[in-house]
C-alpha cells in the first residue's frame, strides 16, 4: 500500500492531483466522465465580484504542443456562484477551491469575503496572474508591491487557506513568491499561462481577438518546471505546480522539483480522463519505485 495523501498547509488532500482553474468549469461538467471525489481537489473557474462577459471571439488558437486562450475571466460573479453553484458543490468529499480575481484590491477583498462564508470551500486561489484582462489580473502579480498589497488585504478578511497563483511573465518569480509568503500566503500555485501570440500568415491577422493571450499545454512544461524549482529554493510555504502536465510522469517531475501537489489543466481538454489517469499513474510510480509516501517525492530531485 502506498500513501498518496499530501498536506498543503492546513489542507488535507487524499492525493496530490488537483485540476486547474479555467480548465475545469465548476467541476460539474466533468461528472459524466469520472467521480470528482477521486481528485485531491479542484479549483473552480476564475470568479470576480461582478459578472463578466470576457473577451470577444476568437478566444483560442492551437499552437505546437499547446494552445493559446484569451477567455478573459468570463463568469457570472461571486453572488451567482454562492447562490446557484455552491449548493451543488457541497456534496463533494474533496477540496473545492475557488479561484478569485478582480480589477481592484477592493474587488478581490469583497469577493474573498463572500467565499469566506461558504463552509465547504476550504480555500481560495488568488489569481494575480491572468494575462487576459485589461485591468487587474496579471498587473497585480508582476510587481512585488502590488502583489503584496492584494495578498495582504485579502489575508485580513479571509481566514481559510490562501493559495496565490503566480504569473510566469515576470523577471524573477522567486521574488514575487517571497513577497506573497511574507504577507501571509499559505501556498503558491504556479505557473499561470505564458503571455504569447499567434498569427495567421495568409490573412496577416492575429488568431486571437485580443492579439495576445496565454499559452498552455506541454509547450510550457520546461518553463514551469524551472520556475517551480526556483520558487522551491526561495520559499518555505508549499508549492502547487502546474504547466503542461499531461501524464503521471510529468506530475512526478513537478514534485521532484519541489511541488507538494500539482494541477492538471489543458490536458483535460485533450483527454477528460487525464486527471484520474494521473492519480493512478502516480500510484503505479510509487509502487514501482518502492516509495511508501508520495510526500517523499517532494523536492527529492537527485543532484
Amino acid at each position: 500500500m502506498v500513501d498518496l495523501g499530501v498536506k498543503i498547509g492546513n489542507l488535507d488532500l487524499k492525493n496530490p492531483v488537483m485540476t486547474a482553474s479555467g480548465t475545469f468549469g465548476y467541476g460539474l461538467e466533468f461528472e459524466d466522465f469520472f467521480d470528482l471525489n477521486r481528485l485531491g481537489g479542484f479549483v473552480v473557474k476564475g470568479t470576480t465580484l461582478h459578472a463578466r462577459q470576457g473577451n470577444p471571439y476568437p478566444r483560442s488558437a492551437e499552437t505546437p504542443s499547446g494552445m493559446l486562450n484569451a477567455v478573459g475571466l468570463q463568469n457570472r460573479g461571486v453572488k451567482y456562484f454562492a447562490e446557484n453553484i455552491y449548493p451543488r458543490l457541497e456534496k463533494f468529499q474533496t477540496n473545492v477551491l475557488v479561484n478569485v480575481s478582480g480589477s481592484t484590491v477592493e474587488e478581490y477583498v469583497e469577493c474573498a469575503e463572500v467565499i469566506n462564508e461558504l463552509e465547504h470551500i476550504p480555500g481560495i486561489e488568488l489569481n494575480i496572474s491572468c494575462p487576459n484582462v485589461k485591468e487587474g489580473g496579471m498587473t497585480f502579480g508582476t510587481s512585488c508591491p502590488s502583489a503584496e498589497a492584494v495578498v495582504r488585504a485579502v489575508r485580513k478578511v479571509y481566514d481559510k487557506h490562501l493559495m496565490v497563483k503566480l504569473s510566469p511573465n515576470v523577471t524573477s518569480i522567486e521574488e514575487i513568491a517571497r513577497a506573497v509568503e511574507n504577507v501571509g500566503a499559505d501556498s503558491v500555485s504556479l505557473i499561470n499561462t505564458l503571455l504569447a501570440m499567434a498569427i495567421d500568415a495568409e490573412s496577416r491577422k492575429p488568431l486571437l481577438s485580443t492579439i495576445t493571450g496565454g499559452l498552455s499545454g506541454p509547450a510550457v512544461k520546461p518553463v514551469a518546471l524551472r520556475m517551480v524549482w526556483q520558487v522551491a529554493q526561495a520559499v518555505k510555504i508549499p508549492i502547487v505546480g502546474m504547466g503542461g502536465i499531461m501524464n503521471a510522469a510529468d506530475a512526478v517531475e513537478f514534485m521532484l522539483a519541489g511541488a507538494s501537489a500539482i494541477q492538471v489543466g489543458t490536458a483535460g481538454f485533450v483527454d477528460p480522463l487525464a486527471p484520474v489517469k494521473i492519480v493512478e499513474g502516480i500510484e503505479d510510480y510509487l509502487k514501482r519505485h518502492k516509495i511508501e509516501s508520495v510526500t517523499d517525492l517532494v523536492g527529492s530531485l537527485q543532484l
Binding site: 479555467g22 461538467e29 466533468f30 471571439y57 483560442s60 494552445m67 481538454f269
Partner: protein
C-alpha cells in the same frame, strides 16, 4: 439521453464519397443510448505533429442495432486529414455525445432543411430520425453547392421527403445560392420551421429570410473549440443573453437568440 463519455471507437468502414469527403462508421464498445440529431463528437487526432486539440464533428447517423456512429468528414486540414486517412480496424478516441440537438417539429408541420457542404450531415440525421419515428411531418430539404460534383446525399434526403438543390454554376437544380431558390425566396411562409447547417454566411442569409417572414428557425453553428463540453469557454458566440458556448449552449441555436 446518453451521458457524455470518452471511448475508443473502431473504424468499421471509411468510404471516400468524393474528392474530399469521407464517411466513417465507428463501432462503439458500449451500448449507445439515445443521441439527438444536431449533437456532435470531439475526436482526438493522434499521429499528427501539428495538432494538439480534438476536432469536433457533427453526427451524421447512429445505428443503435449495430452500435455505430457515423461521421461525415471533409478533409480540410491536418486534423481532418488524419481522420479521413484512418483505415478500417483502427481505433479513434472520441468524446461523445456533446451539445444539444434540433427541436422536434409538431405533428403535421412542414419543415425545410437547408444545408451546404458538410453541414448536411446533422440535417440528414434529423430527417432520417423523423422518418424513422413515423412522425407525421412533411420534410423538405434544400441542398446548395458550388457545382453538381459537390452536391451530396440528394438521394438520401429524397427518401425522407422532397428535395431541392441549387448550384452556383447552374450544373444542377436552380442556378445560384440556396437563398435564390423559390423555396426560400418565395415560399418560406408555407413552412412551419426551417433548420440550417452549413457555412456561416449561408446560415445568416437563411436566418434573415426566416426572420423576415417570422418563421421558426434553428441553425447549427461551428466554432473553434478546445474542450467541447463547456469548461474552457473558448467557443463563445454572441447571444441576446451574452456570450454563450457553442459546445454546450448550442451548437443548435434559435436565431431569435443570436445577434445576427
Amino acid at each position: 439521453m446518453m451521458n457524455k463519455t470518452v471511448q475508443n471507437l473502431r473504424v468499421l468502414s471509411n468510404i471516400q464519397l468524393n474528392r474530399d469527403h469521407h464517411l466513417l462508421e465507428l463501432q462503439a464498445p458500449v451500448k449507445l443510448e439515445q443521441i439527438a440529431p444536431g449533437q456532435f463528437v470531439n475526436v482526438r487526432v493522434e499521429k499528427s505533429q501539428s495538432t494538439f486539440l480534438r476536432r469536433p464533428f457533427s453526427i451524421y447517423g447512429v445505428d443503435y442495432e449495430k452500435n455505430t456512429i457515423s461521421l461525415f468528414i471533409k478533409d480540410v486540414g491536418p486534423g481532418s486529414h488524419v481522420l479521413t486517412s484512418t483505415p478500417e480496424g483502427e481505433e479513434v478516441d472520441v468524446v461523445f455525445p456533446l451539445g444539444n440537438g434540433f427541436s422536434y417539429p409538431e405533428e403535421n408541420e412542414r419543415i425545410l432543411l437547408v444545408g451546404g457542404g458538410f453541414g448536411i450531415a446533422p440535417l440528414l440525421f434529423f430527417a432520417r430520425e423523423l422518418k424513422k419515428r413515423n412522425l407525421d411531418v412533411h420534410i423538405h430539404a434544400l441542398v446548395g453547392a458550388r457545382t453538381s460534383d459537390d452536391l451530396m446525399e440528394l438521394n438520401s434526403f429524397a427518401q425522407c421527403g422532397e428535395v431541392y438543390s441549387t448550384t452556383e454554376d447552374g450544373s444542377h437544380g436552380v442556378k445560384g445560392r440556396v437563398t435564390d431558390h423559390p423555396a426560400l425566396k418565395d415560399r418560406l411562409q408555407k413552412f412551419d420551421r426551417v433548420y440550417s447547417c452549413g457555412p456561416e454566411p449561408m446560415m445568416e442569409a437563411v436566418a434573415a429570410k426566416a426572420a423576415a417572414v417570422d418563421v421558426f428557425c434553428e441553425v447549427s453553428l461551428e466554432n473553434t473549440m478546445a474542450c467541447g463540453f463547456g469548461v474552457c469557454l473558448c467557443c463563445v458566440t454572441d447571444t441576446t443573453s451574452g456570450h454563450q458556448c457553442v459546445c454546450t449552449d448550442g451548437p443548435v441555436f434559435n436565431i431569435k437568440d443570436l445577434k445576427w
